[in-house]
Amino acid sequence: MSVLEFGTQLLKQVSLLGTGALTTLRIFFLTLLFSLPLGLLIALARMAPQKWLNTPVKLFILIMRGTPLILQLIFFYFAPFYMLPEGLRFTLPRFTAAVLAFSLNYAAYFAEIYRGGIESIPQGQYEAAAVLGFTKSQTFFRIILPQVIKRILPPVSNEVITLVKDTALITVLGISELFRVARNEANRLFSTSPLFIAGLFYLFMNWIVTKVFDAAEKKLSYYR
């Protein structure tokens, strides 16, 4: 194989994997878009004093964190059809099922990170806000949450990095994301190089994620 041939082969593979990577990125961003705010709601419900509210939420978190994400993917795709009575059966589009499973799963993890962050803020902050006359929501959004965000950046960046790699799991639903495209290519060409290139894709994405979180931490380093 000449250098030229090798070069065009490589370019072909990279652009093919690139289309798979786009699907991966769509799943990635949609999951963050839904799970970050949802996680906050779940955290607040988890910390609510009302048992009727916090008990089901605890159960939800237990299930989402306690079962394999790959099973949850399969569940959200197949359960609406196989577990519902005749007449009510439906099937979500694969992509939707994947985003749903990922969002709920990651929201459960984010919720516990938020909770840890919120509970780490000293009581004195709430008391100072209360005597100054801030309402509960003002206290949360102006005083507590900004401090929580600074504290939870490192664990959140951990989760986001894991999310990049976890997107490979949706291959079980037959979605042509990066990992599936790479594996198909590897099988077709009888070569491991597409898998290796896919690995570089994941690494590159996480390099960017790391840079973004480094920048965010730096931006919030103006106070302690």
Partner: protein
């Protein structure tokens, strides 16, 4: 005019001895009251009840004549409706032992945040007020600093400015110098002394007996949740009538060497 009236206030917690068992007193406008007593005597709990950080078990509190909380003869405790409570709360300022500044806000924003977002003051007006207060506490050059860049004494002075920015009718201090190195207490006491000279109504929980004697118009001595003795600083420190007060002050003098 009386700013604060407390009647037969009770507050207890499960598992702590810092309780209040039937306390009554009044504070007039412009009066400076020092609240002294051993730890666990209920001083801090009393202050927390007065600033609505704790709900009382029974009794009554009136702020500038308005009922904040009352208790019916049958023992039913009723707080004023939320809207009225919010207004009453704005009349009360509090300075904490541990400052509780907002670490993510600059000194200036620590002071302006509540006037702007709670009192609805125009931002420019709030800033002007903040600079006025910063000049008063001698920290004009720290307006853009963050709390972590300040010493404890500076933090506490900012906390005082933050409370003053809401123009309270009465300012409570919960051991304002207890978390400070001895050489930093002076600068905080000086600020409080200046406020006293301006006839700011204040109630100060303190272990600084010399300070209480110098600044207070009246001293209240509490022990085991009750007011044991109260009077002018001359009487209470000079010629205490109660045996418990005498013991406390004697131990205090021995321990602090003052």
């Amino acid at each position: 005019m009386e700013i604060l009236k407390v009647e037969n206030l009770y507050k207890s917690f499960v598992g702590t001895e810092d309780v209040v068992t039937g306390v009554s007193f009044q504070i007039s406008e412009g009066e400076v009251v020092a609240l002294i007593g051993p730890s666990g005597s209920g001083k801090s709990t009393l202050l927390r009840c007065l600033t609505l950080l704790e709900k009382i078990d029974s009794g009554a509190i009136y702020v500038a004549g308005e009922p904040m909380v009352t208790t019916s003869p049958a023992g039913q405790v009723t707080y004023a409706p939320e809207a009225a409570l919010r207004k009453i709360r704005l009349r009360l300022g509090m300075v904490f032992q541990n400052f509780n500044l907002f670490p993510h806000f600059s000194v200036l924003r620590n002071i302006t945040e509540a006037p702007i977002h709670v009192a609805g003051m125009a931002p420019a007006e709030a800033e002007a007020l903040a600079y006025q207060l910063l000049a008063k506490i001698g920290l004009t050059d720290k307006a853009d600093a963050y709390p972590y860049q300040l010493s404890g004494g500076q933090c506490q002075r900012v906390a005082i400015a933050r409370a003053l920015a809401m123009k309270p009718d009465i300012l409570f201090f919960d051991e304002p110098t207890s978390a400070l190195d001895p050489e930093l207490t002076g600068e905080v006491l000086k600020v409080i002394r200046n406020l006293a000279a301006e006839r700011m109504t204040m109630m100060v929980v303190t272990h600084e007996m010399a300070f209480a004697r110098e600044v207070a118009d009246r001293v209240i001595f509490m022990d085991k949740g009750k007011i044991v003795e109260e009077g002018s600083p001359e009487t209470l420190f000079g010629a205490p009538t109660n045996a418990r007060t005498r013991t406390f002050l004697r131990n205090y003098n021995l321990n602090s060497g003052s």
